[in-house]
Symmetry: C2
């Protein structure tokens, strides 16, 4: 493509990023080389550093550099409640609400049979181990309300109920601040069924 | 944000990429660390390699690893014609047409007074040096047909005409394969004025 193998290699490598095609990758490569070589070096070092130091928390499976993450080490939290989320970003969103004081388990994905991700690939057995530590009494399923997230919640929920735990799911309903006229029908139907 | 400084650093570094905000950067970082650590290492090495080896061609200013790029070294091309483009991507688009057999000069940008990019910042003097090598007789301005691209073409064109060179601009007109009904009025007006 270009006159430089290194440049072509950089464009190819940038295409490994999610949501980046060949045009975006070229634009990124040109930008870095023309206007922000410091940024390119910074990114190179950050990638190197992150791949060599970031691993999974032994308790909750989130990204951390220590064997166990800071949140799992916080003894002031409620050990009877375990919240299951798909990603660290979902966990961060829940934490920002300040409404949950228990511990988390981060699946780092969701069941997705079409992509070949079943319970084994998702490492669900580690969640069961964590949930059956004797202290946890309630597991709150906070996977996303997408088809795959719902399926994940269903499979995990059934298995945990059979093992004697209380299993709950985040409430479905009308979002705060919204007008009924503009809310989709499925959401209103759920809000009616789950009325309190 | 997260439990890992390396992860936060990676998200920050990814935000240096053009068009990438904090949500995309997080998604990219999670994807690389969870699903594609090989890709992350590859990208790290590609960035390192490109920043240390890629420089500008001494003749046409495009990205290359040699002092002079392969296209400038190709003696079979027409040395009387010099085509001025904004970016290597624009050059590649022209090359793909196979309709131009002269040499190029790549500005690596465009005049943009609002961003503080004047003729000096753009390195226009190097273009003048190249164009006045005694062999070039026609300079084809192939900057983009945006406001900034047009202004760049105007400024460069005037200066080169004063120095006695023939200066031409890519034709404006109706794109191949389009129906007049759906072409914007400015384009049709230009096509009428430039009819042949």
């Amino acid at each position: 493509m270009s006159d430089s193998n290194s440049l072509d290699g950089l464009v190819e490598a940038l295409r490994r990023l999610p949501g980046v095609g060949v045009k975006s990758a070229s634009r990124m490569a040109y930008h870095l080389l023309q206007h922000d070589r410091d940024g390119a070096k910074l990114l190179s070092r950050a990638l190197e550093q992150a791949t060599s130091t970031v691993r999974h928390c032994e308790r909750c499976n989130t990204f951390t550099e220590a064997p166990v993450c800071g949140l799992c080490l916080d003894a002031r939290r409620d050990a009877t409640k375990l919240c299951v989320v798909e990603t660290p970003a979902d966990q961060a969103a829940l934490e920002r609400t300040g409404a949950f004081r228990g511990y988390y388990f981060v699946l780092m994905g969701k069941l997705s049979p079409l992509d070949g991700i079943g319970p084994r690939e998702l490492g669900v057995s580690r969640l069961f181990e964590r949930a059956l530590d004797g202290q946890v009494s309630e597991v709150i399923l906070a996977t996303n309300f997408t088809a795959e997230g719902e399926a994940t919640a269903h499979v995990i929920g059934e298995a945990l109920r059979q093992r004697g735990l209380t299993v709950t799911r985040l409430a479905r309903g009308v979002p705060a601040g919204s007008e009924l006229e503009y809310v989709d029908l499925g959401t209103i139907a759920h809000a009616l069924v789950d009325r309190r």
